[in-house]
């Protein structure tokens, strides 16, 4: 033991260099978004596989819950389908145009890394550019909105989770269609703040909050959560609304990536407004 100390003391310059360099490297890889994705990707044979293997194993234990959720989603989709068929029978003129491509395309993916305990939480999924994922696509699951893709590598993508204070989502209250923006409060993993809803609007606890469709990332009306409580901040004209998120970020497993096929067209069109 003493000779170890003596060795360390004699080579303290080298030791200190190695320690400080290791600290820097950890900082580089853990705090810089870009480097994390690249690191993850370049070592995917190692870290990526371990993550995925473990996740696969873990899947078996949650098969029951996943099945129940899928069944519930199936039921709700079937109901929507039925309603649409009924509508078509009643109003045959409303038949959708089959020539036009669908506006939104969904790709399923599995969450392989996710956090809820930081101020800026990120989510990593097992689909990347090879599967057609691009930055600025939305991430949803059966319960509601999950986040937005920001970085894509060949086999993986990472994105801002809804639990990231840098992510702002245009949202509206279904009962009155007033829209504001939803941003995480940074405190608890199932509540977020809905901002910019003016005073004169009537708001009730239990009202549903959905995406407004103005962001051209998410389709109109994707579930976000329900209003848990609301209050008045003195000195402003807006409510302070707390929304209970419908997605459970702690048990997030399967998600879908939403691609708006008309997004480029929309952005091009809207950019004309700015240049004028």
């Amino acid at each position: 033991m003493r000779s170890l100390f003596r060795f360390l003391l004699r080579n303290y310059f080298l030791m200190m260099f190695l320690i400080l360099e290791a600290i820097s490297l950890v900082l580089i890889v853990s705090l810089n978004d870009y480097q994390r994705v690249t690191f993850f990707n370049s070592s995917n044979n190692f870290a990526g596989t371990i993550y995925e293997r473990f996740s696969n194993l873990d899947d078996y234990f949650s098969l029951g819950r996943t099945n129940a959720r899928l069944a519930a989603e199936n039921a709700s989709l079937r109901k929507q389908l039925q309603m649409r068929i009924m509508n078509q029978e009643n109003y045959p003129i409303n038949r959708p145009d089959t020539v036009e491509a669908p506006a939104y395309i969904f790709t399923s993916a599995k969450v392989i890394s996710n956090s809820v305990n930081k101020q800026f939480n990120y989510i990593t999924i097992n689909k990347g550019s090879r599967h057609g994922i691009k930055p600025d696509m939305g991430i949803i699951n059966a319960d509601g909105v999950v986040g937005v893709i920001t970085n894509v590598s060949q086999n993986y993508s990472t994105g801002l989770s809804l639990l990231n204070k840098r992510l702002l989502i245009p949202a509206k209250i279904t009962t009155n269609n007033y829209f504001g923006s939803l941003v995480w409060d940074g405190e608890h993993f199932n509540t977020a703040d809905l901002k910019e809803i003016p005073f004169h609007v009537i708001v009730n606890v239990g009202d549903t909050v959905v995406t407004s469709g103005y962001s051209n990332i998410f389709p109109d009306g994707m579930m976000i959560g329900i209003i848990k409580k609301f209050g008045v901040v003195s000195g402003t004209n807006f409510y302070d609304i707390k929304v209970e998120l419908s997605t459970n970020f702690k048990t997030l497993k399967y998600v879908e990536v939403v691609q708006n096929t008309k997004r480029a067209e929309l952005i091009k069109l809207e950019s004309n407004n700015i240049t004028e």
């Binding site: 303290y12 310059f13 080298l14 200190m16 260099f17 400080l20 360099e21 600290i23 820097s24 490297l25 950890v26 900082l27 580089i28 890889v29 705090l31 810089n32 870009y34 480097q35 690249t38 690191f39 370049s42």
Partner: protein, 168 residues
């Protein structure tokens, strides 16, 4: 511990501010971003204790990192430079000059040695910096070009600043 401690504190602050407020905003064609703050490490006395050299290098790097939002990248590069500095000093100058406790500046070393000293140090520091930034050898040629062009600019600015200071 060091002669003119106050002078070094002021130099530290000035160099960090010049770097983050002025030079970080100069990005010519995206290829050239000069980093001259390492001048602080270069000008520390030869006889400075090793732990102090590494500690202050890390502190300098992390200060730049905090301002430019690149945690770890600059500190990694400055710690590497701090670690290699004694070796570089031995390479470029004689034993007498080092042992006399001189500071490695333009007047003490003379132009040729000082130029060698600056060029080697800047190249090492920038090499780590740019490759840590891109974090892959994918755009190897572009990174190489950024490294060389930025290094040339940094070297020119550092030398020019020394000429201006030591003329007076």
């Amino acid at each position: 511990m060091i002669k003119g401690f106050g002078k070094y504190v002021i130099m530290f602050i000035v160099l960090v501010l010049v770097q983050v407020l002025i030079l970080n905003n100069i990005q010519l064609s995206g290829l050239i971003n000069p980093y001259i703050y390492i001048l602080f490490i270069l000008l520390l006395p030869f006889t400075i204790p090793g732990y102090f050299l590494l500690g202050i290098s890390f502190l300098l790097g992390i200060s730049i990192d905090i301002f430019s939002n690149t945690p770890g990248i600059h500190s990694g590069a400055t710690v590497l430079l701090g670690f290699l500095r004694p070796g570089i000093a031995q390479l470029i100058s004689s034993r007498e000059i080092i042992e006399k406790g001189n500071t490695p500046n333009l007047t003490q070393l003379g132009f040729a040695s000082f130029l060698k000293y600056v060029v080697i140090s800047v190249l090492i520091h920038h090499l780590f910096l740019f490759f840590a930034e891109t974090f892959s050898f994918g755009d190897f040629l572009e990174t190489l070009l950024r490294w060389i062009l930025s290094s040339i600019f940094s070297i020119v600015i550092i030398l020019a600043s020394q000429f201006i200071i030591f003329k007076n």
